[in-house]
């Protein structure tokens, strides 16, 4: 029996969490997993906190991930990693894009952006990966590919071979952007090789 995997993708409206979830869904389908994906549309999309929940396994009932159930949290932004950390399963993995996007209450001076979020998460979670996906994507030629850099990093953590990821990526992104996205995936994928990044 395939072990069910719960992935929580969290970020800010407009960061490309939906495309990332589509690629993961395509991976799951290629692997023959049952899959459920849950996302919130509407009001929350207007620059608000967004979350996409992806569950794959032999048979998936609930489309949502409860507290303490996520095998992986893929955070597109630091504050969102902090916000959703309670969903992480003991022993789970957190992958954090080091980008910071201040919410309006912070911009307006009504709240403070917490300091050293990644350090605080590392104190509590053994498996934490922090990478500058935005810079990596810019290096590949398109800031919008940051989501695929993060997917590349996550690919190392899931029991799926690299080619399946590449095929899934090719089935989702438009052909003209495939080269950039493949490069972005490679950067993320290699960022977890020991000695390359931490």
């Amino acid at each position: 029996m395939l072990k069910p995997i719960n992935v929580l993708m969290v970020g800010v409206g407009g960061q490309g969490t939906i495309l990332a979830s589509k690629v993961l869904a395509a991976v799951a389908m290629k692997m023959g997993y049952d899959i459920k994906v849950s996302e919130i549309h509407g009001m929350a999309q207007r620059g608000g906190s967004v979350v996409t929940q992806i569950r794959l396994g032999e048979k998936v009932y609930s489309p949502v991930i409860s507290e303490g159930e996520a095998d992986v949290i893929l955070a597109f932004e630091q504050l969102e990693a902090l916000r959703w950390l309670s969903c992480l399963k003991p022993g789970g993995t957190v992958i954090i894009n080091s980008q910071q996007i201040s919410p309006v209450p912070v911009l307006a001076g009504a709240a403070e952006y917490p300091g050293d979020i990644t350090g605080k998460i590392k104190e509590r979670v053994a498996d934490v990966v922090v990478l500058d996906a935005l810079q990596a994507a810019l290096d590949c030629g398109n800031a919008k590919a940051a989501n695929v850099v993060l997917l590349g990093a996550m690919a190392q953590k899931l029991p799926v071979d690299e080619q399946t990821w590449r095929d899934a990526l090719a089935s989702i992104v438009p052909p003209r952007l495939l080269e950039i996205n493949n490069a972005a995936f490679t950067t993320g994928f290699n960022s977890l090789v020991p000695g390359v990044a931490s």
């Binding site: 994906v37 608000g48 009932y61 489309p63 309670s86 800031a143």
Partner: protein
């Protein structure tokens, strides 16, 4: 062939496969994508109606005339459509009529979390509740069959987690379906009292037959399990029950109005303790109890918000049914994450209106749409929001009843909302000689739900050209003498227009016209800040623009987010904000 589909996409596919001829609705989260998906099937005529009442009436007409019809709306839309719904239960249908009610437990994108299952019982129509995308698709065909077989409208009640969750769906091919012949039958379709009484009796008869059908329908079934715990559930809650109580016996109800009394009694007799798991109201629970069956539900489960498997585990643990969970807490001692509320987009041309209304210290009765975001701090340009169209009517109420406040009150409404149900409110203000000032923020679309067309955009749902309502002419035709069009990016002009409107006798309308920034994707050179001139007064922050921040007492504009709307340039008292289009 299987495809990964959201519940909404699955409903659209189901309508296509089941030979639906006509679909109508009004956008509203979480229902909107049903018609957006259906519009891709050119074989089905689909449209946006100006409001849900109109949409349902369109569906009733098509159905009585013999065609299958699908009508979609969010839960609060059914309030608007309730009038035709209650009497369509009397007339019944000819071709099948399916009304999708998309409820929003947890209020992700809604002003309330009413449980529309009560509507099915109240209006005496059949109701199906799918638990995932596959069932959502299958229940479209089943619902239309039930509608035709029992001559009754059928409500397909979904919730956000069914509508917006994707699951695997087996696709089928569309089955060719003839339009049923129409025959004039005033005793069935002309609901005057004498005939209404006949149909009232007929309705009870139809419901009794439907109840009998519910005892054996394949969508009401028992999942055998441990006889210690039995759970009756429906909709998305079924999925949470299967995860939280994997060994329990489950009675899953797909047809939840009318409820199958005999099946429930049979199931109750098989188990030692009976629970009912349902989000929101104790809809099933009360009906089960009326059968004389002992059942536990809201005693241990909340009536508010969404459920999930974790919530069920903890509630059943607290009730002693499950062992207590692990006490591990990853987040102990972590700082609280500041909220990230939704905000008006950078470059929203209507942002400045809220800034102006707030700075003028006006009382602003608002309405449903993006502009509710203009009510949050620091903009604080709206006082209230109740429902579609209410902004204008509420301002009129203040005008007539509260001297002192009326002179400082304006109403704000969007273009789509105005066409939905603001027209009659404005007509009332004219008829009853109000002095109200109404701002129609015309962004040329239904923005909040994802840019749907409406009668003033010039396009229809299927992508064709459509006549474009002229809002100025419409307001004049309603009897408003003072109608002014302003550019909301010109803050001085907006302020002057509001002052003129407030001073005018009789109702006045200000149409602030600029398309939604996401629609035009117009980007002018970004604003820059001269750090020498900026004195850190933070006036610009009051615009609540995600592109503006202040650090070390100097404003900064995020050059990737800024689209050069220049509202901050107009707000800046020191001239430190430099417009990218100065001179353009």
């Amino acid at each position: 062939m299987k495809e990964l589909l959201s519940g909404n996409a699955a409903i659209a596919r189901g309508a296509y496969e089941a030979g639906v001829r006509l679909a109508s609705g009004y956008p509203g989260t979480p229902s909107t994508e049903i018609l957006e998906n259906l519009a891709r099937y050119k074989e089905v005529y689909s449209e946006w109606a100006p409001n849900e009442k109109v949409a349902l009436e369109v569906g009733v007409g098509a159905a009585i005339a013999g065609a299958r019809a699908l009508i979609t709306m969010k839960h609060v839309g059914v309030n608007v459509a309730a009038d035709p719904l209650f009497t369509a239960a009397y007339t019944g249908v000819n071709g099948g009529l399916l009304l999708v009610s998309a409820d929003d437990p947890g209020m992700h994108s809604s002003q309330n979390e009413q449980d529309n299952r009560h509507y099915a019982r109240f209006a005496k129509v059949a109701m199906l509740e799918p638990s995932d995308s596959q069932e959502a698709k299958d229940m479209v065909a089943l619902g239309l069959d039930i509608s035709e077989q029992f001559d009754i409208p059928v409500m397909l009640r979904i919730t956000t987690r069914v509508a917006h969750s994707q699951g695997m769906v087996e696709l089928g091919e569309p089955i060719p379906r003839e339009i049923k012949p129409y025959s004039k039958d005033v005793r069935k379709h002309l609901m005057v009292p004498a005939f209404g009484r006949l149909r009232r009796l007929s309705l009870e008869d139809r419901l009794a037959r439907l109840k009998e059908y519910g005892e054996t329908t394949p969508v009401n079934y028992i999942v055998p399990g441990d006889d210690k715990i039995g759970v009756i559930t429906s909709g998305i809650s079924y999925q949470y029950v299967r995860e939280a109580l994997p060994g329990a016996s489950v009675l899953k109800l797909g047809l939840t109005n009318p409820v199958p009394g005999q099946l429930i009694k049979k199931f109750a007799a098989q188990v030692q303790t009976l629970y009912v798991v349902e989000e929101l109201e104790p809809y099933l629970e009360e009906q089960i109890r009326m059968l004389g069956i002992k059942v536990t539900g809201k005693e241990i489960l909340p009536v508010t918000g969404e459920f999930d498997q974790g919530l069920l585990r903890s509630k059943f643990a607290a009730a002693g049914v499950l062992p207590a969970g692990r006490g591990e807490n990853l987040t102990a001692g972590l700082p609280q994450a500041p909220p990230r509320p939704p905000v008006l987009c950078p470059g929203c041309p209507h942002r400045g209106v809220f800034y102006t209304l707030h700075s003028m210290k006006l009382t602003v009765s608002g309405d449903i749409g993006c502009y509710t975001l203009g009510g949050l701090p620091p903009l604080e340009g709206i006082d209230s929001c109740i429902c579609m169209g209410a902004g204008i009517s509420m301002a009129h109420g203040i005008d007539k009843a509260v001297p002192g406040l009326k002179e400082k009150t304006v109403a704000v409404i969007g273009d789509s909302t105005f066409l939905h149900s603001g027209i009659t409110s404005l007509l009332n203000a004219v008829y009853n000689n109000s002095d109200i000032t109404v701002l129609i923020l015309d962004n040329r679309t239904t923005a909040m739900t994802g840019h749907q067309d409406h009668p003033a955009t010039g396009r229809n749902l299927m992508g064709g050209e459509a006549p474009e309502v002229n809002l100025e002419a419409l307001c004049h035709a309603l009897g408003v003498k003072q109608v002014e069009v302003v550019d909301p990016l010109d803050m001085a002009a907006v302020k002057a227009a509001v002052n003129t409107g407030l001073a005018a006798k009789g109702p006045s309308v200000i149409i602030a016209r600029r398309p939604c920034i996401l629609l035009t994707r117009e980007s002018k050179p970004a604003v820059t800040v001269d750090p020498e001139t900026c004195n850190g007064c933070k006036m610009c922050l009051k615009l609540s623009c995600p592109a503006i921040s202040v650090s070390d007492k100097k404003s900064a504009v995020d050059q990737t987010l800024c689209v050069g709307c220049d509202l901050c340039v107009q707000v800046c008292k020191t001239g430190a904000m430099k417009g990218g289009n100065a001179g353009a």
